[in-house]
């Protein structure tokens, strides 16, 4: 969870939000009125554009057929592709607006959007799990031992300037069997994963992960500013009882202020994936399967809290491990999403003349403020609590409220399932859509790589994870996991 307010230099040409005085790059306060600009910059770096930009969200009226049939959804920019209320394949496909995605509550019943639990008192809002500025990552002092001390032999290779471990090219011909440090390229790597010479941590398996199936692909990267990757994903494919393909993508973002966020995210992603793979072939409705999968993921994360920390971390409070989750299933002509937290799913049609849409609504302080009409978007996102999440998976979650929604797109496109490490760099739906390559439907892996690259180019302040699912499922893609 990126909760840090970054100072960026990109304010040239901007004006003070308070008095409209032109600002200079690097200004900390407005020269005219003294307005503190740090919040402005933070907002620029973490643009979370919520539903109903610049206005309160349209009240969802379930009795209004127009709202269901021809949803002109979030804000004025998006037109959801028209869909029939009940399609001919006997599958009743409830179609939701992104703005009234009540989903189902933890008891399995539908909740009207307007009645989502929310306190009108800002201070009484559910405590954010990742308050702004809270320390990042527990990462206990690894005191796990090895059988013996790594030897302290000095390799004879002359010292070279330290390089970024991730940009350094590997030594052309490393001696067989000996791993050399990627930073100094001279020291050997000890059993704890550090260079015996310069001490630098070596790249870990999770620093960069890619997976590609025929019908879905995902990429996860540590980013440029975090020391480890606390995101995780799972992608898979199976078949519905009728033999038609079903494709699954799950993306989770570990909550940095909790203990062992990296374990939480992987546990949740795997549990949700397994739950979906088990349910989908058994005639469980994909939306119900999604709901159950989030419950399963939650239980997997909860159970981590009972396990002793293998590497006691005394630097942080021992919060229960926690993470966000967002998942998508493409099956039987349906597009199902489910989420808890501020990881998102977007719909990007292949035909770019048709607007894209965000399918999820963040469990975040700012989103709740805006949704409740207590603040306008600018105010909400200027607040330092804006990005604090109000829902998560973990033993200390107040009340698990899995959000699920089903859509029935009428044209091809891709679902982009991602963590805030990406969407922080693609402010609105349009920006997200323009970052997605035109050939995303046919090259999901490439698209996921491009999107991760987009986040890294933007600064890579957080871990970045992106899964891309083409809709409909590519004909050759069924069950090839």
């Amino acid at each position: 969870m990126s909760q840090m307010h970054q100072l960026t230099d990109g304010v040239a040409g901007a004006t003070c939000p308070s008095c409209a005085e032109p600002l200079e790059s690097g200004d900390l306060f407005c020269g005219a009125c003294g307005y503190d600009l740090s919040a402005v910059r933070a907002q620029q770096d973490h643009p979370t554009i919520a539903i109903g930009r610049g206005s309160t969200p349209p009240a969802a009226d379930p009795t209004d057929p127009a709202a269901l049939a021809a949803p002109a959804a979030p804000g004025d920019a998006v037109e959801w592709p028209e869909a029939r209320e009940v399609d001919s394949s006997d599958v009743p496909a409830p179609v939701h607006l992104p703005s009234d995605l009540a989903g189902t509550d933890s008891g399995g019943s539908e909740l009207p959007a307007a009645e989502r639990p929310f306190s009108s008192d800002a201070s009484a809002a559910p405590m954010p799990q990742t308050p702004v500025g809270e320390s990042d990552g527990p990462a206990g002092p690894g005191a796990d031992g090895t059988d013996e001390l790594g030897d302290f032999d000095e390799p004879s290779t002359p010292s070279r300037p330290t390089a970024d471990p991730r940009t350094a090219t590997p030594t052309p011909t490393p001696p067989a069997g000996i791993k050399l440090c990627v930073a100094c390229r001279a020291g050997r790597v000890d059993r704890d994963g550090y260079c015996e010479r310069c001490g630098h941590a070596q790249p870990r398996e999770r620093d960069h992960m890619e997976q590609e199936l025929d019908a879905v692909a995902a990429v996860s990267d540590r980013g440029l500013r975090h020391h480890r990757n606390e995101d995780a994903f799972a992608v898979s494919a199976t078949a519905l009882p009728d033999g038609s393909p079903a494709v699954v993508a799950v993306v989770c973002d570990g909550v940095s202020s909790a203990t062992r966020p990296d374990e939480a995210s992987i546990a949740a992603a795997q549990a949700a994936n397994e739950s979906l793979l088990a349910a989908l072939p058994r005639e469980v409705h994909p939306q119900q399967a999604m709901h159950d999968a989030i419950i399963a993921a939650s239980e997997a994360v909860n159970s981590l809290a009972d396990q002793p920390d293998p590497v006691p971390d005394h630097a942080h409070h021992q919060n229960a491990p926690a993470c966000t989750i967002v998942a998508s299933v493409v099956a039987g002509g349906l597009l199902v999403v489910g989420w808890v937290g501020d990881s998102r799913a977007y719909w990007v049609p292949a035909d770019r003349s048709v607007p894209a849409a965000r399918l999820t609504e963040d469990d975040s302080w700012a989103a709740q403020m805006v949704a409740a009409g207590l603040m306008n978007e600018a105010e909400a996102y200027a607040d330092e609590r804006a990005h604090a999440i109000t829902g998560w998976l973990g033993a200390d979650a107040y009340e698990l409220e899995p959000h699920t929604a089903s859509f029935k797109p009428d044209r091809p496109g891709v679902v982009v399932v991602c963590t805030d490490g990406l969407w922080n760099y693609a402010e609105g739906v349009d920006e997200m859509a323009s970052a997605v390559p035109a050939d995303a439907c046919s090259r999901p892996l490439h698209s996921a790589q491009v999107l991760v690259g987009h986040a890294l180019d933007g600064g890579g302040h957080d871990n970045v994870t992106v899964a891309v699912l083409p809709f409909p499922v590519a004909p050759q893609g069924a069950g090839s996991a």
Partner: protein, 453 residues
């Protein structure tokens, strides 16, 4: 936590508490390393002996003329030594040395050590009755004799070697350089507890001996208290299971160790006692260990790295020399450095680090305050001792707070407002100075089990 000690030896655990998150450009990493040794004491041994590890003890009793003024001192010393001998485990080699301006073997004599059993204990106590006072004080010569005896051929290499030294006066019959030379030559060859009886001895001499020889120092103002203190000291010595344990620090290229201090149970700066081991590692002596827990503060300066980087700032391990020139790693911990732009993480000070930084300052300001008081700088003394009162109260160091209250009148502990007492008992001032380095641990649930008895 891995444990590499032999099954029969004590088990060492290393825990690291550190300020591992550094801001961009940050270079200083502070870590508190808690080393806990368990399974020692009388429950096992490195040798086949069921009675415990090999051990050799030398008791050095001040027999200078002043010990007869008052005569209770000599009597107290005799009784205390007898009690210490009673506390010897069977099979432990021991010797009693009478210290004056020369060192004299009182028991068993002839450059030998006695092996403790009912008979030798009785013989030794008979000899003690004939011990009388007369002569000067040359502590270096006592230590050199103890060193010769404790390191004689009859003592196995791996034995725990320990001395107990009692003095009542200043080291007047040799130069400070002689004493320092003796300490330098004895350091690492045996450990030694030092006690001052009465109030005519020099605090810095006694604490200097204990510091150099990795033992404890204390005052026994009333000779009547000697017996209990000697018994306790000997019991502690008998609980030592393993000798010559070193704290080994490996640091990466370009890193520099700013300091290494033991910070609990007492403050002891080990920075200058490094023995290099290979290009980037060094050993710091910690003496012998029983069932106990100690804390060390390690401060390392690392080369700056960019946000998102992580490196190993130090690898901390406990090692012993196995006797065949090979070292054995008993346990280890890692001190990491992670550069982050999360200000909350990089500015947060680890509670352990903060606590012991305060405890080290407490020891320092007590020493400075007492020195200022002796030199007549009353304003300086008031300021320093006021700060000491504030630190002691804030950190829950109740023992030190109580000792301070005998030297100053505390007006407000929270702000450190104090007045120097017009009249202070010598014993109170010396007690404060001798015990100024005693620290307390961070009070939290986790540490309850480690709390010193």
């Amino acid at each position: 936590m891995a444990n590499f000690a032999k099954p029969k030896g004590p088990r060492f655990d290393v825990e690291v508490y550190s300020n591992e998150y550094l801001p961009e450009g940050g270079r200083e990493v502070n870590a508190i390393v808690t080393v806990t040794s368990t399974g020692g004491g009388t429950t096992g041994g490195r040798t086949a002996s069921a009675a415990g590890p090999d051990a050799a003890v030398a008791i050095m009793v001040d027999c200078s003329g002043s010990m007869d003024y008052p005569p209770t001192k000599m009597r107290g010393a005799r009784e205390a030594t007898a009690a210490a001998i009673d506390a010897l485990r069977d099979g432990v080699r021991f010797s009693v040395i009478a210290g004056t301006h020369v060192a004299k073997e009182v028991y068993p004599g002839y450059g030998r050590l006695a092996v403790a059993d009912a008979g030798t204990r009785e013989d030794a106590k008979q000899v003690l009755r004939r011990l009388s006072a007369g002569g000067g004080t040359a502590i270096g010569s006592w230590l050199r004799l103890a060193d010769r005896l404790l390191n004689s051929d009859e003592v196995p290499d791996t034995a725990v070697r320990h001395g107990i030294l009692l003095t009542d006066g200043r080291n007047e019959h040799e130069s400070p350089e002689d004493l320092q030379a003796a300490l330098d030559s004895c350091a690492g060859r045996f450990t030694c507890d030092a006690r001052g009886v009465g109030t005519d001895w020099e605090v810095k001499e006694v604490t200097g001996i204990a510091s150099a020889l990795l033992g404890s120092a204390d005052i026994v103002a009333d000779p009547a208290g000697l017996t209990a203190d000697f018994t306790h000291m000997m019991e502690t010595a008998m609980g030592k299971e393993i000798a010559d344990v070193a704290l080994r620090l490996w640091t990466p290229m370009g890193a520099e160790i700013r300091y290494v201090k033991q910070v609990a149970p007492t403050v002891e700066d080990l920075t200058d006692r490094r023995t290099p081991v290979g290009p980037r590692a060094g050993d710091y002596p910690t003496g012998s260990w029983g069932d106990e827990s100690r804390d060390y503060h390690v401060c390392v300066e690392v080369p700056a790295a960019g946000i998102g980087h992580e490196m190993l700032a130090a690898r901390v391990s406990l090692v012993i020399d196995r006797g065949d020139g090979e070292t054995q790693n008993l346990s280890q911990g890692l001190v990491r450095a992670v550069w982050t732009d999360d200000m909350a993480a990089s500015t947060a000070i680890n509670p352990q680090v903060a606590h012991y930084t305060g405890q080290a300052e407490l020891a320092q300001v007590i020493q400075q305050g007492l020195d200022a008081r002796k030199s007549g700088d009353m304003d300086g003394a008031t300021a320093k001792l006021g700060r000491a009162v504030q630190l002691a109260a804030g950190s829950g160091n109740a023992d030190t707070a109580r000792l301070l209250a005998k030297v100053v009148d505390v007006v407000d502990a929270a702000t450190g407002t104090v007045r120097l007492k017009a009249k202070v008992e010598d014993a109170d001032e010396m007690t404060l100075e001798t015990r100024s380095t005693k620290t307390v641990r961070v009070k939290n649930v986790q540490d309850v089990q480690h709390t010193e008895q």
